[in-house]
C-alpha cells in the first residue's frame, strides 16, 4: 500500500512504471493525503475518491448464436460474452426492445451488433438501421463493423453490406447503398429529412427492417430528444406501411432514467440491462478548486491556468492525458498552453493536439490515430470526444470546468482507463456557481444518481411540425393516433391552413382494407426541410460580417437574437470580436464588423410573465423529495389558507420580453464600463414554467430595508436558477428567470418594487415555445431546489455575494447575500420536519 492506497492487482508483481508515475503525479497534487480522507470544501483539493476495480463476469457464447459469427468473434479475440452483453443479446433475439446502460469500454457495440449480425447471417434479406447522434460516431462505428464483416467474409464468405448514409454520402452512391446495405448507419437528422420523406426508395430497407439501434440514447434529451420521439413515431408508421415491426436496441450512458427515456422515445415497453459484466480498472477521482485570490470579490485563480498545472504534472511523467475544455475557445487556449510547456522539438511528431468540431475529418482521424498508437501524449478536446469515438486507453482525464451534468462527467472521466487499466480523473472547477457547488459538495456528485433525461415529444410546436412531415409521408387515417394529443384535431387545424385534406369513403387514399377515411397532404412543400431537429423553431437570426465582402459568420436562434445581436452588441466567434452595426429585425439579419475592444456586452431585458393556466399547485409543507402530486392543495383551498407562505406551482405562462439596454463589461476584471439604451420589438412566447410564490408578509418580515430585501430576492432567484440548471441537466439558455408580481403592473414602472410589499413570484420558465418538459420536474424537486440553493449561497467563501452564488456584488447590492440567506432560511424554517430532513440531507 502506498500513501495513495492503490491496491496491487497482484501482490507478487512490482508496480509498473506507469503506476509509479501516476502515484507520483497524484502525490504532487495532494501531498501526503491519504485516500480515505474526508471531503475538504475549503482546501484546494476538495475531494479524493477511489473507485475499486471490478472483475469481468463472462458467460460462454449462447448456443443458438450463428457459428459464423462465433468464429468471427473468436478470430478477433472474443471468446465469451460479458454477462450484460449476453442478457442484451438474449432479449433482443427474443424480440424485446432493449435498453443497455453501458459504462465506457464495456463492449456496448456487441450488445447490438451480435444479435443483428446473427439475424442477418441467418437470413440475408434482413436489414438494420443504426442511429448515432453525430456523423463522426457513425464513421467510427463503420470502421468497427467493416472490420467485423471482413472477418466474417474471411471465415465464411458471407457478404454483409455496411454503409453510412448521411449528408456526406455522395448522390451517386445513394442508390446502390439503398439496394445493398444490410446495415445503414445514419443519424436522426438524415432519417428525418432524407430517408422517411423518401421511404418508397427505401422500400427494401423498410420491408425487411428487423432492428433499429439508437446509440448514445442519453444524448437525446430536451429539444433534440423531443424531435427524435416524433421521428420515431414517423418511422413506426412507415414500417407499418411496409409490414415491418423492428426491435429497438438502445444503448445509454449512465443516467437516472434510461428505461423511461427509451420508452418515451420508442413508445413501447423496453427491457433494461443495467448490470455490467465488464471489468473496470481502479480509478482515482480528484476535485480541484483553484485557490481564492481575492476574498472580497470571491475571485479565484483562473481555472484554465490551474488545469494547465494539473495536466502538466501528469504529462511531465509521460502519462497520456485527455483534457476536456468547455468551449472551442478554451480548447485552443489550453492547447497553446500545453504546447508551450510540452511542445515537441521542431520537426518532431506533434505530441500535444487539439480536437473539436470544426476541424476537418482527416485532421480528426489523424489525432484519433495518434492517441491510439501513443504518439499523441495529450489531447485537448471539447465534448467532441466525450462520446464513444475510439481513441484507445488513456491514463488521465482532466476536466477544465464541470461538464454540466453528472452523466457527462462520468463519461469524460471514463475516457481514461477504459481497458481495465489504473487511471485517474481530475475535475478543476471554474468559478461558475454550478462548478462551485459541485466542487464544494463532492457527495452531491459521488453519491447521487445522475440526472434524468427529460423530453417532451408532445410539445405542440414540435408535434405539429412532425404531423406535417408524417402526413407528407403517408396519409393519416381518420382513426389514427400520433402522440398524446388528439392528432385528428391537429389535422383539422392543418386542413384549415390548406396543408392536408380529409377524404372520406371509397375515394380515400388510406388502407384499401376499408378504413373510414384519410387525411392527404395537399401542399407543394417538402415539410421536413423547414424543420431542424436541433431547435424548436427554424426561425433564426443570421449574422453577416460586413468588414470585407459580406459573408455569413453565424446564426442565433430567434429567442436569443435580440439579447445577443442588438445594435452595438459585441458578438464573439472563436475569440474574434465583432460589433453589431445594425439589426434588421424583420429580415432576421444582424450586420457586424470586426472590432478591437476590451469589453463585451450584456443585454438588459425586461421580462413579464403572465400565468395562463396552473396545472398543479402545492405548498411546501406537503412535498416530499418526490413531491406526490396527489397531495397538492386544490386551488380553492389556497384561498382559505393564506397563512401558508411559499407555494410551488407549475403551468402554462405567457412570456413577454424586451431588450431595453445593455452594459459594457470589461474582460478579465468584469467592471462595468458603460451602458446604452435600446428600443427593440417585444418577443412573446407561450411556454411552461415552475414558479415559487413568496407572500408579502414573508418578505416584510425580513430584517432588512426594502431595497436590500429586493436585492436579496434577486440574489436568491439568481442562485435558484443555477441550481435549477444543475438539477435539470440543462444549459443556461434552456431556462429563463423572471421575478414578477404575477399580475398586470403599471406599464410605466414594469417590475417596480413599491414601498408596500406585495406577493412575489419567481418564475423559472422553459425558454422554448411550448415548453420542453422542465417545469413539472422542477415542481417535483421544489424542496431540493430550495435546499441546494441555500447550501450554495451559505457555503460560498465570498463576503457579500459573488458570481458564484448570488451574482457579482457590484450588480446585486451590498446586502444581497445576507438578505438572500435570510429569505431562504425563512422559507426553509417554516417547512415541515419532513421537508427539512430532505433539505438538510440533500436527498
Amino acid at each position: 500500500m502506498s500513501v495513495w492506497g492503490l491496491a496491487r492487482t497482484d501482490a507478487a508483481s512490482r508496480p509498473s512504471g506507469r503506476d509509479l508515475a501516476l502515484e507520483a503525479a497524484l502525490d504532487r497534487l495532494v501531498p501526503g493525503q491519504k485516500i480515505d480522507r474526508p471531503d475538504t470544501p475549503d482546501l484546494s483539493v476538495t475531494a479524493v475518491r477511489r473507485l475499486d476495480a471490478l472483475e469481468a463476469q463472462t458467460v460462454p457464447f449462447p448456443e443458438r448464436l450463428d457459428r459464423r459469427l462465433k468464429a468471427a468473434l473468436e478470430a478477433r479475440g472474443i471468446r465469451a460474452l460479458y454477462t450484460h452483453q449476453a442478457e442484451a443479446v438474449a432479449h433482443a433475439l427474443a424480440g424485446e426492445h432493449v435498453v443497455v446502460v453501458t459504462p465506457t469500454a464495456s463492449g456496448k457495440t456487441l450488445c447490438y451488433n451480435a444479435p443483428i449480425l446473427h439475424t442477418i447471417l441467418q437470413d440475408p434479406s434482413c436489414r438494420a438501421l443504426y442511429l448515432f447522434p453525430t456523423k463522426a460516431l457513425a464513421q467510427d462505428q463503420l470502421a468497427e463493423l467493416h472490420g467485423l464483416s471482413e472477418v466474417i467474409r474471411g471465415v465464411s464468405g458471407d457478404e454483409i453490406g455496411v454503409f453510412t448514409y448521411d449528408g456526406d454520402t455522395p448522390q451517386d452512391a445513394r442508390r446502390s447503398i439503398r439496394a445493398r446495405a444490410h446495415l445503414v448507419l445514419s443519424n436522426p437528422d438524415m432519417v428525418h429529412a432524407g430517408i422517411l420523406p423518401h421511404h418508397p426508395r427505401w422500400a427494401k430497407l423498410f420491408e425487411n427492417l428487423k432492428f433499429v439501434v439508437i446509440d448514445e440514447l442519453h444524448a437525446y434529451r430536451g429539444v433534440f430528444g423531443s424531435h427524435l420521439g416524433n421521428v420515431l413515431r414517423r418511422l413506426w408508421r412507415v414500417c407499418r406501411h411496409y409490414g415491418a415491426s423492428p426491435v429497438f436496441i438502445c444503448s445509454s450512458a449512465t443516467i437516472a432514467n434510461p428505461r423511461e427515456l427509451a420508452e418515451r422515445l420508442v413508445e413501447r415497453p423496453c427491457y433494461l440491462v443495467d448490470q455490467t459484466g465488464a471489468p473496470r480498472g481502479e480509478k482515482l477521482f480528484v476535485f480541484v478548486n483553484p485557490p481564492v485570490v481575492n476574498q472580497q470579490l470571491g475571485i479565484r485563480r483562473s481555472y484554465l491556468s490551474e488545469t494547465r498545472r494539473v495536466a502538466g504534472e501528469f504529462l511531465k511523467r509521460d502519462l497520456q492525458v485527455i483534457v476536456f475544455a468547455q468551449s472551442r475557445l478554451s480548447t485552443e487556449i489550453l492547447t497553446t498552453y500545453l504546447k508551450d510547456d510540452f511542445g515537441e522539438p521542431p520537426g518532431g511528431a506533434e505530441r500535444i493536439r487539439g480536437y473539436r468540431g470544426g476541424y476537418l475529418p482527416n485532421h480528426r482521424r489523424e489525432v484519433e490515430k495518434g492517441l491510439r498508437d501513443g504518439q499523441v501524449r495529450a489531447v485537448v478536446s471539447t465534448n467532441a470526444l466525450e462520446l464513444g469515438i475510439d481513441i484507445g486507453p488513456l491514463d488521465v482525464s482532466v476536466m477544465a470546468g464541470y461538464p454540466g451534468t453528472i452523466a457527462a462527467t462520468w463519461q469524460r472521466a471514463g475516457r481514461a482507463g477504459r481497458r481495465a487499466a489504473r487511471s485517474a480523473a481530475v475535475l478543476v472547477a471554474s468559478s461558475a456557481p454550478i462548478d462551485q457547488y459541485i466542487v464544494r459538495h463532492p457527495s452531491y456528485f459521488f453519491d447521487r444518481t445522475p440526472e434524468r433525461a427529460l423530453i417532451d415529444p408532445d410539445n405542440l410546436h414540435i408535434l405539429v411540425d412532425h404531423v406535417k412531415c408524417a402526413a407528407f409521408e403517408l396519409p393519416f387515417s381518420s382513426d389514427e393516433r400520433f402522440g398524446r394529443h388528439d392528432v385528428q384535431e391537429v389535422l383539422t387545424v392543418l386542413a384549415e391552413q390548406g396543408f392536408v385534406h380529409r377524404v372520406d369513403g371509397e375515394a380515400a387514399a388510406g388502407d384499401p382494407s376499408g378504413r373510414p377515411g384519410a387525411w392527404t397532404w395537399t401542399s407543394e412543400s417538402y415539410p421536413a426541410d423547414a424543420v431542424s431537429l436541433r431547435s424548436v423553431s427554424s426561425d433564426n437570426f443570421v449574422v453577416v460580417d460586413t468588414t470585407g465582402e459580406p459573408k455569413v459568420i453565424g446564426e442565433t436562434d430567434f429567442t436569443s437574437g435580440p439579447s445577443t445581436l442588438h445594435p452595438q452588441a459585441i458578438y464573439l466567434v472563436e475569440g474574434r470580436l465583432f460589433q453589431v452595426q445594425s439589426l434588421d429585425f424583420d429580415g432576421r439579419k444582424a450586420y457586424v464588423r470586426s472590432v478591437d475592444c476590451d469589453y463585451y456586452t450584456d443585454a438588459i431585458s425586461h421580462t413579464r410573465v403572465t400565468i395562463l393556466d396552473t396545472f398543479a399547485q402545492g405548498c411546501r409543507t406537503v412535498e416530499g423529495a418526490d413531491g406526490g402530486g396527489e397531495r397538492d392543495a386544490a386551488a380553492s383551498d389556497l384561498v382559505e389558507s393564506r397563512a401558508i407562505d411559499a407555494w410551488r406551482s407549475h403551468g402554462e405562462v405567457h412570456v413577454v420580453s424586451r431588450v431595453v439596454g445593455f452594459k459594457k463589461i470589461r474582460f478579465y476584471t468584469n467592471e462595468n464600463v458603460g451602458s446604452g439604451e435600446l428600443d427593440l420589438p417585444e418577443q412573446q412566447m407561450h411556454t411552461t414554467a415552475y414558479w415559487l410564490t413568496i407572500d408579502a408578509h414573508v418578505l416584510a418580515s425580513l430584517p432588512f430595508a426594502a431595497s436590500d430585501r429586493r436585492d436579496g430576492l434577486i440574489g436568491m432567484a439568481f442562485a435558484l436558477k443555477q441550481i435549477a440548471q444543475l438539477l435539470l441537466m440543462c444549459d443556461g439558455h434552456d431556462i429563463g428567470l423572471s421575478i414578477d408580481s404575477g399580475e398586470l403592473v403599471d406599464p410605466a414602472r414594469p417590475n417596480a418594487f413599491v414601498g408596500v410589499e406585495q406577493d412575489r413570484l419567481v418564475f423559472i420558465y422553459d425558454n422554448y415555445p411550448g415548453g420542453i418538459g422542465f417545469s413539472q420536474p422542477l415542481y417535483r424537486m421544489h424542496a431540493e431546489l430550495l435546499g441546494h440553493t441555500y447550501r450554495l449561497v451559505a457555503g460560498c467563501d465570498c463576503e457579500n455575494g459573488c458570481p458564484s452564488c448570488v451574482g457579482p456584488v457590484g450588480q446585486t447590492g451590498p446586502l444581497a447575500k445576507s438578505a438572500a440567506l435570510a429569505l431562504l432560511r425563512l422559507l426553509l424554517a417554516e417547512s415541515s420536519s419532513e421537508t427539512r430532513h430532505a433539505l438538510v440531507t440533500g436527498t
Binding site: 420523406p197 426508395r201 407528407f472 375515394a507 384519410a518 401542399s523 407543394e524 412543400s525 417538402y526
Partner: protein, 495 residues
C-alpha cells in the same frame, strides 16, 4: 369544433411557414368532398371515362389527333412518318431504343419529390398505324385510385419499345418509380430504353448555349416547331389547381391542365421527330451552326469520326460571320471568301509576333461591322457573343479532330483561329496556346514561337500543377533556345 387545444394549435400553426399561396384553399371549411357529388361531373367536364383493372377503377381521358391535324408547321401524320423513317437512328440517343415510342409526361403535386408528391396526371402519347396521335391521360380523380392507375400505366409501358420524355430521366421517371415502390408494384420501366429529349435539346437548340440556362419545352416548341399556345396554363399552376379540385370536387380547374399536358406531349413528339430526322439527314439538314455542332458531337460520341468532322465543318461554315450572309441570307460563297482571307494570313501563324495577324483580324471585324454600313439588326450583342462562343467550341472540336487524324498543320490552323477569335474563353485560350506550344516545339521545331505560346498559356488562370508543367516547358524551351543560339554563334564563328 373549437377547443382549447384547437386554439393553441391554430396559434402554433400560424407561427410556422404557410402551406404556400398556390395551395391555399379558396374558402376554409364547408367545401364538399371530392367524393360527395363527383363522378358525373368529372366525366363530363374532363371528357373521360372509368375503366377497371384487377379489383380497382381508374379514370382516363383519351383523345386521338388525326394525321391531317397540324402542330405548328407540321402535319401530325408527317411527324409519324419522320419518326418511322428515322427509327434506327434513335439508338444514338438511347441504346436499344426502337418503336413503338411511348411519349410520357407527368403533372405532379410538387417539384420536390418524396413520398408526399403525387403524379396526379400521367399523360401518355403514341402514334397509331394511321399516323394519328393517341393521347391517354390517367387522372387521379380519387386519391385512392393511384394503385389502379399505376397498374394500367404499367401495361402501357410494357408494350413500348422506348419511353420518350422531356427531363423524364431526372424527374418524371424517378417520381413514378417512387410511386410504384410506394404501392410495392414492380417498376418495369427500368427495363425499357428511355430517350430524354431534354439533353439533346440542350445541345441542339439552347439559344445561348450557356450551361444552366433554361431550356423549356414551351420555348423550344416556338423556336424549333413554330408552334405556339393560346391561354396556356403554366405548369407551375398545376399543383394548386389539383388541390383546388381535391378540396372542392369541381374538376373545372383541371380542364386547362389536361390541355397543357396534351400540348406538351405533342411538342415532345415534334421535337423527337426533328431530332431523329436531323440525325438521319446529316449536317446538310442542319438549320444552324448549333445544330450542326451538336450533330458533330453526337457522331463523335458514337465513334463516327468522319461524319463528325463533316458536321463540324458545316457548323463552322454556318457560323462564319459574313456580312453578306446576314444581308442576303445566302450561306456559302461569301463565307468561303472570308475563310480564304483568314487562310491567307497563313504565314502569320508561323510568326511568334501575332500583332500582324491581330491587326488583320481587327480589320476584318471593322469591315464586318461597318464595311457596308450594315449590322445584323436582328441579332443583339448577347446573341453575337453566344455565336462567337459556339464558333470557338467548333474550332476546338475541329482542331482536336484534325489532331487525332494526324493532320497537325490543319489542327494548328484551327487552334490559331480559335486563339484569335472573339469567342475564346480563358480555358479555351489556354488549351489552344498549349497545343500550339507543343506543335511548334516538337513538330515545327520553331522554338521562339513555341516560347511565345507557352508564355501565353500563363495569361489564363491555371492550377498550380499546370503552372509547374508550364514552367517546366518554358525552362526547357529557354534551354533549347540557348543551346541553339550557342550553336548558331559557334557556326557564326566558324564561318
Amino acid at each position: 369544433m373549437t377547443s382549447r387545444l384547437s386554439d393553441r394549435l391554430r396559434e402554433v400553426v400560424r407561427s410556422r411557414p404557410p402551406a404556400g399561396a398556390s395551395s391555399a384553399p379558396e374558402a376554409s371549411g364547408g367545401t364538399p368532398d371530392a367524393a360527395a357529388g363527383p363522378s358525373r361531373a368529372v366525366e363530363d367536364t374532363l371528357g373521360g371515362e372509368w375503366r377497371t383493372i384487377d379489383a380497382g377503377r381508374y379514370f382516363i381521358v383519351e383523345r386521338r389527333l388525326a394525321s391531317e391535324g397540324r402542330h405548328g408547321s407540321r402535319r401530325i401524320g408527317d411527324l409519324a412518318a419522320q419518326l418511322e423513317r428515322s427509327a434506327t437512328d434513335a439508338c444514338l440517343f438511347a441504346g436499344g431504343a426502337r418503336p413503338p415510342w411511348l411519349f410520357f409526361d407527368l403533372e405532379t403535386t410538387g417539384l420536390n419529390g418524396g413520398a408526399g408528391t403525387l403524379a396526379f396526371l400521367i399523360g401518355c402519347g403514341a402514334f397509331d398505324p394511321d399516323g394519328g396521335f393517341v393521347i391517354r391521360q390517367y387522372v387521379l380523380t380519387r386519391l385512392g385510385d393511384e394503385r389502379s392507375v399505376l397498374q394500367a400505366v404499367s401495361r402501357l409501358v410494357r408494350d413500348a419499345g422506348a419511353l420518350v420524355s422531356f427531363n423524364g430521366k431526372s424527374f418524371d421517371a424517378p417520381l413514378l418509380e417512387s410511386r410504384f415502390a410506394y404501392h410495392r408494384l414492380p417498376w418495369i420501366a427500368s427495363t425499357v430504353p428511355h430517350l430524354d429529349v431534354l439533353h439533346p435539346a440542350r445541345r441542339f437548340w439552347r439559344e445561348d448555349g450557356k450551361a444552366g440556362a433554361p431550356c423549356s419545352l414551351a420555348a423550344l416548341e416556338r423556336q424549333v416547331l413554330d408552334a405556339g399556345r393560346d391561354h396556356d396554363v403554366p405548369g407551375a399552376e398545376a399543383p394548386g389547381r389539383y388541390f383546388q379540385f381535391i378540396r372542392s370536387g369541381d374538376p373545372e380547374a383541371l380542364v386547362d391542365v389536361l390541355e397543357h399536358n396534351r400540348l406538351d406531349l405533342l411538342s415532345l413528339a415534334g421535337l423527337t421527330a426533328r431530332l431523329l430526322t436531323l440525325v438521319r439527314e446529316g449536317p446538310e439538314g442542319a438549320r444552324s451552326g448549333r445544330e450542326a455542332f451538336a450533330l458533330g458531337d453526337l457522331y463523335e460520341r458514337a465513334g463516327w469520326h468522319t461524319q463528325s468532322h463533316a458536321a463540324l465543318e458545316q457548323a463552322l461554315e454556318l457560323l462564319s460571320p459574313s456580312p453578306r450572309e446576314t444581308i442576303d441570307r445566302i450561306p456559302g460563297a461569301q463565307s468561303r471568301t472570308w475563310h480564304s482571307a483568314v487562310n491567307g494570313s497563313g504565314p502569320g501563324v508561323h510568326l511568334p509576333d501575332t500583332s500582324a495577324e491581330v491587326n488583320c483580324f481587327e480589320e476584318m471585324k471593322t469591315a464586318m461591322a461597318g464595311g457596308d454600313g450594315v449590322r445584323r439588326s436582328s441579332v443583339g450583342p448577347e446573341a453575337k457573343r453566344a455565336s462567337d462562343r459556339l464558333r470557338a467550341e467548333v474550332l476546338r472540336a475541329l482542331a482536336r479532330s484534325h489532331r487525332r487524324a494526324g493532320r497537325y498543320e490543319a489542327a494548328a490552323l484551327r487552334w490559331r483561329q480559335l486563339l484569335d477569335g472573339s469567342g475564346c474563353t480563358p480555358e479555351l485560350a489556354r488549351e489552344a496556346a498549349e497545343a500550339l506550344a507543343v506543335h511548334h516545339e516538337h513538330r515545327r521545331r520553331d522554338l521562339a514561337s513555341a516560347r511565345v505560346f507557352a508564355l501565353r498559356t500563363l495569361e489564363s488562370p491555371v492550377s498550380s500543377v499546370r503552372h509547374t508543367a508550364i514552367r517546366h516547358r518554358l525552362a526547357r524551351l529557354e534551354r533549347k533556345i540557348r543551346e541553339a543560339g550557342a550553336l548558331l554563334a559557334l557556326t557564326g564563328l566558324e564561318s
